[in-house]
């Protein structure tokens, strides 16, 4: 079978924002301010959530299933009325955007298509509604590699093809801002690789991308920033570098832990002893630890660095999502992560 995934769009794509003049949607910043949604008077799906998506950045919106990501995105797009709080895109609420498809492209789920309609016709309907030339439908179908399936009914599309049709729809108006809800759902590995290249390309064009995912490694590669949500509340936001700074841990196993701890303390670091023969220390190079042990004459059985990757942080921050235990309102700042013992996902 031929490669169904087209290469990422080339340089022929016009710059976002349309030709000439001030770009619609202002600076393209998404501001979420104290958004709250209570369903049915009881279920607090989103709780006083505030975060900002900077123009030109790719922001990963992360959280386990049920954390409130989709509800938040739908409130930003004013498909769901917030119980409290507000959100703006380029300084105005979504409903006040003039011709919103030219400002924000949003793909929310891979099932918003009439099964008996062709992918091309789905897009041409949106072209008419947004006053875009019909030729734009074919252009975006080419961009996402759906050219050959354009005139087939969506009923016969695979999940991956539906996701790409959704992505194609977001690009119709050539918007500066893209809001994507779990775009990697249902994609096979090749599709996910294609999606990553696609994101890199969008980010390279200076578009603002807010992409939700429950899998961190989907966005880790290309996201500048992450906003982590759990049980409707903001757990952490910041650049990936900020979140992972100073989190590498050196782990040492030794039959003489007391002497090693003493040597490390004299070097000005505070080691921890999760068990009698293990010493863990953060904020110091592994070679330095080895040197201190050598000069103190301490025998070592293991000396290794645990790289603290984002995924581990993510699991740490969102733990309890399935256990029913309550999360602290605000996770204490680093250091303090990760909890002792590390997570089974590290490695």
């Amino acid at each position: 079978m031929a490669n169904v995934y087209a290469p990422p769009p080339g340089p022929g794509v016009p710059a976002p924002g349309g030709p000439g003049g001030a770009p619609p949607g202002g600076d393209g910043r998404i501001v979420v301010n104290e958004l709250t949604k209570v369903f049915g008077g009881r279920v607090r799906a989103v709780d006083r959530l505030s975060f900002t998506v900077e123009p030109g950045s790719v922001t990963g919106f992360l959280g386990p299933n049920g954390a409130g990501k989709t509800t938040t995105l739908r409130m930003i797009l004013e498909l769901i009325h917030p119980t409290a709080g507000s959100s703006t895109i380029g300084g105005v609420p979504y409903k006040q955007l003039h011709n919103p498809l030219t400002v924000v492209g949003a793909a929310l789920e891979a099932s918003s298509f009439h099964p008996a309609r062709t992918g091309r016709n789905h897009l041409r309907i949106l072209c008419a509604a947004a006053h875009l030339p019909d030729a734009r439908a074919d252009e975006v179908l080419d961009l996402v590699g759906l050219h050959d399936a354009a005139r087939r009914k969506v009923r016969g599309y695979s999940m991956g093809m539906r996701q790409r049709l959704g992505l194609a729809a977001t690009l119709l108006g050539n918007p500066r801002i893209l809001v994507l809800d779990e775009p990697a759902n249902g994609l096979d590995p090749e599709g996910i690789r294609w999606l990553r290249g696609f994101f890199r390309h969008l980010a390279g064009e200076g578009r603002t991308v807010l992409v939700s995912s429950h899998l961190l490694n989907e966005v880790q590669e290309f996201a500048d920033r992450v906003v982590i949500l759990n049980r409707g509340q903001l757990v952490r936001q910041g650049s990936i570098a900020e979140l992972t700074a100073g989190t590498d841990t050196v782990q040492v196993r030794s039959p003489q832990p007391a002497a090693l701890v003493e040597a490390l303390r004299q070097a000005g670091v505070q080691p921890e002893q999760p068990d009698p023969n293990t010493v863990r220390v953060r904020g110091i190079e592994m070679a330095h630890v080895g040197h201190l042990a050598f000069t103190a004459g301490v025998e070592l059985h293991e000396l290794r660095t645990e790289r603290f990757d984002l995924e581990e942080l993510f699991f740490t921050l969102t733990e309890g999502a399935y256990s029913g235990q309550t999360m602290p309102q605000q996770v204490p700042p680093q250091p303090g992560f990760p909890p002792q013992g590390g997570a089974p996902w590290s490695g």
């Binding site: 989709t70 509800t71 498909l79 918003s112 009439h114 008996a116 789905h122 041409r124 008419a128 509604a129």
Partner: protein, 254 residues
């Protein structure tokens, strides 16, 4: 607005529902004409019932498929969640419902013209073969009445769909209300006087011969003038559409 109306036409054209509903309308119109003509044994009897032949599409409930088509114009958006991209492109429910109303007003007119044309193509030669000369100018009132009913019912359906959103509920409730509940209301003393102001009663008011005073009283209830019947249908369409756009379509889309 022009773009939005075009979008609505594209939505309709790009699935097959429009075709099957048109086929159903034409089929019912033909059935009505054939049944009306065939039921008259003698040419003399038939000559007395030329107006019945002209309004036969209405008697055969040809407006029901149009009613359903109007319902589907809103409910399929919810059923297949195309309401999400639709509302993302057009956040204003008022703009959306206005575009749909205009588009389906045009659709209603086209379907009504199609039904009338087919009806006349069948009825006129047949009546002529039975030595009955039909003066179209004399029958203009009857044809206009059928035209108005068919053209407006897509809008009544549209309003029903906007208010109820759920396809099965809207179609079932709408059709049962018109075909079963309305006749029942007509036999309840006191309540029966609302009949001319219900969609099915308005249809009856529009198509019944204004000079046929005996038939303009149904079970003791006086029908309203044809023009008033048209106004009632328009009012049903607009009130339901406004309630739908203002309340149910404005609810969370999740």
């Amino acid at each position: 607005m022009v773009g939005l109306i075009r979008a609505e036409f594209r939505k309709l054209r790009t699935t097959q529902v429009w075709f099957w509903m048109l086929l159903l309308c034409l089929g019912l119109a033909v059935l009505g004409v054939v049944a009306t003509i065939a039921s008259q044994s003698s040419d003399a009897d038939l000559a007395q019932h030329v107006r019945d032949v002209m309004v036969a599409p209405s008697s055969a409930d040809t407006y029901i498929p149009l009613f359903v088509l109007g319902i589907l114009s809103v409910t399929t958006e919810y059923r297949y969640q195309t309401i999400t991209p639709t509302v993302l492109a057009t956040p204003s429910r008022w703009a959306l419902i206005t575009a749909k109303l205009i588009a389906y007003a045009i659709v209603g007119v086209l379907y009504a013209l199609g039904c009338l044309a087919l009806q006349l193509i069948i009825a006129l030669p047949w009546l002529s073969a039975r030595n009955i000369h039909v003066s179209l100018s004399e029958q203009a009132g009857a044809l206009l009445a059928v035209f108005a009913v068919l053209a407006l019912f897509a809008l009544v359906g549209l309003g029903t769909g906007a208010l109820l959103k759920n396809q099965i509920v809207a179609v079932t409730v709408g059709v049962i209300f018109m075909l079963a509940i309305t006749p029942l209301l007509l036999i309840i003393p006191g309540v029966k006087h609302v009949y001319p102001y219900l969609p099915a009663g308005a249809v009856n008011s529009i198509v019944t011969d204004p000079n046929d005073h005996a038939n303009r009283v149904v079970n003791g209830v006086h029908l309203i003038a044809p023009a008033a019947g048209v106004a009632v249908l328009v009012a049903w369409a607009l009130v339901l559409a406004v309630l739908g756009a203002g309340i149910t379509m404005n609810r969370d889309i999740s």
